[in-house]
Symmetry: C2
Subunit: 528 residues, 2 copies
């Protein structure tokens, strides 16, 4: 029996050693998470078709790494964001619906500069035009507990590389290190780079210097070199991951490309072939922004493989709003850039909110699958927390997002009881100017812009326009181009969705456009 | 027997759980390290006497937290730095002697701007006036493996808060994140703040903006508030440590105060009492810089205690060169600010190089002890690596520093075979202008400035001046004020030290001042 005890002792010790090593690397059990977020990328700005049939753009753009990632994981064909950048980004890191966080339009890099354009007969509510905030500190900000803060506090190495645009300069969240990112590379209040070229110091006047507003900061060591911003951010992202690997802790990399946002500049590694394809030079430049971004994705995929962490690294691909359909700065047909989707960035039509989304979670997602569940950008918040095994979080805010982990596990699942809502109690002037130039006399509502709210439940989508007081109803499954308004023929569905939309807006504490004449909120009114 | 086995099983499991937790926190066995580095603080700028008898200043300044720290650990009474900031700081993070790294004078924040003042009949060598560098990238930089880089790669969370000043803007090391610091707060190429007040945006013209050169960067969220820079850096340091605690990894905090460097501004929390003591307003302001710095030390000591990491956190207190003795900007008697020490910052006399140093390593240092061993600032490099249990490091550079861990363990140990060397093949114009104003006709050598080298071994110190070709010899133990030059009376000691100094300078590859007439290096010549 002594021998048995000895054996047991040895076994126990052996177990302990294994367990000990395992425990030391306990964090490794939690996956690394790369959120690869593209700016202003449309649903069809890729060679990977997200629709049932390839879109015209799918034959133009070349994104082999997105194809590769989709082959490894799940492609989400009904993923949505909000129609403009800051609202989407704030929803993503707070989990809040846009009507709840009230950052309903894009934020200027200066404080106290609402970006709303005028709309006849209306005034705008006091929305959170200074963006989000880590604490009560200044007016017109939303105070929330952020995703990176929660991850960091639970032991994740958190970093943002690239575009922040969470708040105006001076508000805490304009420096992402104040909302939980340990590292913040080239990220602040600006929404787009002044210049993509390192040789032009990314728009900073002086080499090694910094120009207030819009010059990308923090990349001084690259100034004067022959590198494109997309490439530089990729190199920086690898440095970030190197550090997490040295610390032996899991990481959350918020890889936030400035591409493919304006200014439309040529990533010269890819320009000539798009000219050879017959594209207009401006559109060819746009295509290089897309392919440069895809190259970055491929580089990061290679990095995790080479470092031996590919099997424990989640990659989530997403864009923050629809593709830009304005001319200028684009050269294509205005509001037709995202065909078969209607309109583009700034619109509540599909072109403004439908996103190319891919999720790869080794050992969880199944290779080459496709999920059709409706997903909204605030869903990333609970999803990422679930992946990181973080439960029972106390947040300052009420979270509206719903985890999509189950759809990653089983892409065939569908929950048609889930509704997504959009809310834009404002006017995006940029859309109007393109309208005026190309379609004089046409109302912004015809491109899905102007003050509006929308809801999607299952295949059905309803949009309400505050200016025209009109509702439109579409079946997105059979009519992805939103050409056939079924509001008149299907009043039952209209009533159901209109009621639900209003209920959910109220729940989230929505602000509404204000009647200039009466000073009263213009609540949605159903006129069938 | 079944019960015995069961008991054993339970015990084994219990053991494993404990072991597992322990293993998970394996890094905790390595101490956290706070390097509390003050800028331009003199050896007597404290209420803690470092000499055998209290210095006049010891009765003026109030630094209760330094006293407290010294009561907890070891006070080093013969700790030295180089006479100017950048040389010291580069030695600290590279472990190299100043003659070896060749950053022999302070670096301008612009590239290619040597800071040397003229000296009749001499030219200056091509020293590394652009500072240190993480890689071969630009001329006149020293490429070295840095202390934070090694610590980071071994799993330490590394951060610098405050003054960097390792290199000119555009050189990689001007951003400390390029030399191994994960976080870099308010740290770049500048050597002093334009302004200490948050209400003045730390010298940045625009609120939330950034002024190229000298405005402290990265603290935009404090702009306009009623806070002093020293306090703000302390708050930021706590945020840094919070993060390391969340990640459960050990940290290296390079707490690098801009205080007590010029501009001499009032930290109003402490001003009135120094006026009440009868100090001139400028000197009273200087005293507030000192006490504000001490308050920061106390705050950090409280922080580690409150977080329960006091027993595993090393605190090292050090300054980077001697106290400023120029008038203006100071108001005291020129070159008498550091009595009993002779001269001040920029001098190879004790006033320029002797530093207030305290080391506290819980469980290792003995409370309230005093070590008299000669220590030089490059010694921090191997010391900190030893504390972090990092052995056999491959560095690009040869390390000249020697660990002082053994003197922390036993403060009575003395190694008189160790020699420290200083090398300044240049001229610091700032010293000259005070001379001219107050002591017209006096040579810079009389305040220990101008091109010079020095050596200290045991109690003996020899200084060689390249301009006058004169050697001076002092016994620092019996003549701390360097009033009695013993060169003539002790030629044997002069020869010994002069030979050793030259040998060590040669070993380090020293550059020498150049004779303008012959274009040849002015090697030291012994004329007894």
């Amino acid at each position: 029996m002594k021998k048995a005890v000895l054996n047991f002792l040895l076994m126990a010790i052996g177990f302990c050693v294994i367990n000990s090593v395992h425990a030391q690397n306990n964090n490794e059990k939690r996956p690394n998470i790369i959120l690869f977020l593209v700016d202003d990328m449309g649903w069809t700005d890729t060679s990977l078709p997200f629709g049932d049939a390839p879109a015209p753009n799918n034959k133009i753009y070349e994104t082999p790494n997105m194809q590769k990632l989709a082959n490894m994981g799940v492609k989400f064909s009904n993923a949505y964001a909000h129609s403009i950048c800051t609202p989407s980004r704030v929803s993503l890191v707070t989990g809040m619906g846009v009507a709840r966080h009230r950052v309903t339009n894009w934020t200027n890099s200066d404080v106290d500069q609402p970006t709303d354009a005028p709309y006849a007969g209306m005034k705008w509510p006091e929305w959170n035009y200074n963006g989000m905030s880590a604490r009560q500190e200044y007016k017109n900000t939303v105070v929330a507990t952020s995703l990176p803060e929660i991850l960091r506090k639970s032991g994740y190495y958190t970093a943002i590389v690239g575009k922040g645009h969470f708040a105006a300069f001076g508000i805490s969240a304009s420096n992402p290190q104040n909302i939980g990112f340990i590292e913040s590379v080239a990220s602040d209040a600006i929404g787009n780079p002044r210049n993509y070229y390192a040789k032009d110091n990314f728009g900073n006047k002086e080499k090694y210097g910094y120009t207030y507003q819009r010059g990308v900061r923090g990349l001084e060591e690259y100034h004067g070199k022959d590198l494109f911003l997309t490439e530089v951010l990729t190199l920086e992202a690898m440095k970030v991951m190197d550090k997490a690997l040295d610390l032996k802790v899991p990481f959350f990399l918020y890889m936030s490309h400035y591409a493919v946002h304006t200014p439309i500049m040529s990533d010269d590694r890819f320009y000539q072939k798009y000219i050879d394809k017959g594209l207009d030079p401006v559109e060819a430049k746009y295509a290089t922004l897309v392919e440069g971004m895809d190259k970055s994705l491929g580089d990061l995929m290679n990095y995790v493989k080479e470092k031996g962490i590919g099997e424990n690294t989640v990659i989530l691909f997403m864009s923050d709003n629809g593709g830009l359909a304005l001319n200028p700065p684009r050269k294509g047909k205005p509001f037709k850039e995202n065909l078969p989707l209607r309109s583009g960035k700034g619109s509540l039509y599909e072109g403004g909110i439908k996103e190319p989304m891919i999720a790869y979670w080794p050992g969880v997602t199944k290779a080459g699958t496709k999920a059709t569940q409706n997903i909204l950008i605030e869903d990333f918040f609970p999803t990422i927390l679930e992946m990181a095994k973080i439960k029972n979080v106390n947040t300052k805010q009420q979270v509206d997002g719903v985890s999509f982990v189950k759809y990653m596990k089983d892409s065939n699942l569908i929950d048609d009881s889930r509704s997504l809502i959009w809310h834009f109690p404002s006017n995006w002037g940029q859309g109007e100017s393109t309208l005026k130039k190309h379609y004089e006399g046409m109302k912004v509502e015809e491109i899905g812009m102007g003050p509006a709210s929308a809801i999607k439940k299952g295949d059905w989508k309803l949009i309400y326009f505050y200016g025209t007081k009109k509702v439109e109803l579409y079946n997105i499954k059979t009519d992805i181009g939103e050409e056939e308004d079924q509001a008149k023929s299907n009043p039952k569905k209209v009533k159901e969705l209109f009621g639900l939309l209003n209920q959910r807006l109220k729940e989230q504490g929505a602000q509404y456009p204000i009647d200039e004449a009466t000073d009263k909120e213009l609540l949605p009114v159903l006129n069938l």
